[in-house]
Symmetry: C2
Subunit: 463 residues, 2 copies
Amino acid sequence: MNKAREFDQTVVTELQALLGERVSTSAAVREHHGKDESYFPYAPPDAVVFPHSTEEVRDVVNICRRHRVPMIPFGVGTSLEGHILAVKGGVCIDLSQMNKIVEVHESDLDAVVQAGVTRKQLNEHIKHTGLFFPVDPGADATLGGMAATRASGTNAVRYGTMRENVISLKVVLADGRVIQTARRAKKSAAGYDLTRLFVGSEGTLGIITEVTVRLYPVQEAMSAAVCAFESVDGCTNTVIQTIQAGVPIARCDIVCEKTVDAINKYKKTDYRVAPTVFFEFHGSAASVVEQAEIVQAIAKDNGGMDFQWATKAEDRTRLWDARHNAYFACIQSRPGSRAISTDVCVPISRLAECVAETMEDCKDYFAPVPLLGHIGDGNFHLMLFVDPARPEEAEQAKTFNKRVVDRALRMEGTCTGEHGVGLGKIGSMTRELGEDVVSLMVDIKKVFDPENLMNPGKVVPIQ
Amino acid sequence: MNKAREFDQTVVTELQALLGERVSTSAAVREHHGKDESYFPYAPPDAVVFPHSTEEVRDVVNICRRHRVPMIPFGVGTSLEGHILAVKGGVCIDLSQMNKIVEVHESDLDAVVQAGVTRKQLNEHIKHTGLFFPVDPGADATLGGMAATRASGTNAVRYGTMRENVISLKVVLADGRVIQTARRAKKSAAGYDLTRLFVGSEGTLGIITEVTVRLYPVQEAMSAAVCAFESVDGCTNTVIQTIQAGVPIARCDIVCEKTVDAINKYKKTDYRVAPTVFFEFHGSAASVVEQAEIVQAIAKDNGGMDFQWATKAEDRTRLWDARHNAYFACIQSRPGSRAISTDVCVPISRLAECVAETMEDCKDYFAPVPLLGHIGDGNFHLMLFVDPARPEEAEQAKTFNKRVVDRALRMEGTCTGEHGVGLGKIGSMTRELGEDVVSLMVDIKKVFDPENLMNPGKVVPIQ
């Protein structure tokens, strides 16, 4: 924790000359920036800076590069795989004060924002336009962080992930050059897709300072529902059949009975304690009714017990707020615990089987294991509680997680549907993609960051 | 044309030992593989091979690399910017005999196909499943070629381009390694997005031998319509307002009156000779009626004159067949001419202005200039006829095209919405993206292909 003492103070002096008071080496600020929502040990940076512009980020990068000091971009610190931990020390570049909405193009259905703008901030800002931004990881993350981690969430089944919803990025490269990855046109075939290369690169190829995202018209009708099922199988089968029927469902998320119980306690709700699917339908008034009728019929065939509806905006928000708080609700249900969240995603045809086998594993775990996930995409999470004071629990959780990953890989799935690689999934990458793909990723990293200063230790195995 | 004489015959001998009769150095075969639909001079390869498997492609690549011979992948030769021209000689790898549909996963809504499978072949094959593959450039191109060029088409406004519809690729690298870029899960956050890096790389980073694509349920109702307008402005405004109203329109393409005239003559149709929009609506029976009513009202407000409907599958096919044949219809209208097709794409808010200014330019061109395009995406094409015997015409067309590109760039657009870079747009890349981005693309190319043997001379400016 006392790395700052060994840290080259001339770096701090140069940063202070640039940013004045917007440089901190205080223990509290460093500690806050040395932890995320993951289970990894804290790893505070040596200093934290708070730039206000792309130019300031560039100048910080130039200082750090000159002194060969690692740089770690930081949004709000809600990553789940240790993405922002300063495992090799260095300077944390906190982008949260770069929170200006630069331009909203209502006619083009896009917006240009600084990297520190959060998804809720953007949606609040554009409320009056009749447009919205759909990607919604649980946390109110920054759009820069969401782009960097290829974030996803409950709306991805209809609106896609950050991969589909980023049009262009402004990026500060390791050598101090500033690039714009693409024009604002909706599509382009102009060369290699650098935008997509930076989406999901987790700060290891450059620092995203500005994001151009797609917006969507708020539909005439948006209707949400909760339905309890006799079994998890009933939930997954309902969703598979719904998608195959061509119903343009906007959201469909599953929570198991343990998660419902935790939500009820945390949010003072009274949902039936059973495997449950949260649905949402978007469209014209007539089409939403039609979609809902089809899905209710499918659900009934699969042991769906009752539909609780929410059509008013505030009721829908409350319902999805309950779902979004599932993670925190579960954590609260075990005071003092932290959680390791699994994150596999499999082809939807294998989902029921994958979940069923995994539920068997859960019986052997020392604590209850809540399940939640975006079953329309084949992506689900299990929360593995661990007591930080008992290292053997973390070991058991890691073994469990590895079994879940291996099972998903056997079923043509991925080790991470949406949380990203960070520190936690580096070991799974070769098993998933093979040595050749991982070595290509290392080679790409070296093109952008030959000295391994950009968020070192993450995504690719370079020491 | 006699490069074969200088060509190292040991390469041919080795290729023949591998593939037997599936190696050709005949003038006819080489010439056929030395031209595409572009206006560039023919550039035949020294030899053409017809592999049947990824392993054979790998072995061909190993032979070519050992002898430092360029390799050019070839699908059906319908590229529009000289993508497949063997400007530095070498071996053309014709993938059209790799046309097996490997697996169709109905429950997962995806299919794995060899690179030589064409889009129509795939759709015919999966007809009985109630699923379809939406991406539809005019030609019946191969899925490998479509992935390599990031192809698009009339359905992109709703279903996206190849960027959104490729899940994973099998690729033979320049050094002979074979990689699979991703698992078959619908989404993943596992490291750098190599799939998207290869989509649009035009054979310059490796040779795509297998493609995993998304499929979609055929909707209960699909209804197409043609509506003539008083002006091109009326067309663009109708489409902009439709999208902003949140109507989930499946297709909306524009053709100008000159194009309609050419289509009528070529396809013996009797569409009104006026600026015209082709629409298509997908959804439940009720929702299609609803969508159609909204769009008809919007069209009426913008000078739309009448809607001709096609709801039966064969009538819809005939209608879109007319649209897809617009390019060939126009070419036929000027016997002996070739055409340079422009391909800019701008933010939709700038589309009306961009088209209007461009139409002014057309008045000065020596021939009629038909316009057609995917206005829902802001992407439109002009056909610039040139007589191959009159080089001054090609010069005038190039000057015109440059003006169109410059205008689009001024309006935050791209030089290529869907045709790709090939030879034709290399000169526009720096103007569009800047020197830094182009130099990064060069660096990425060098990681994958350090000896510049993979389709050299395309996409990036390496000599």
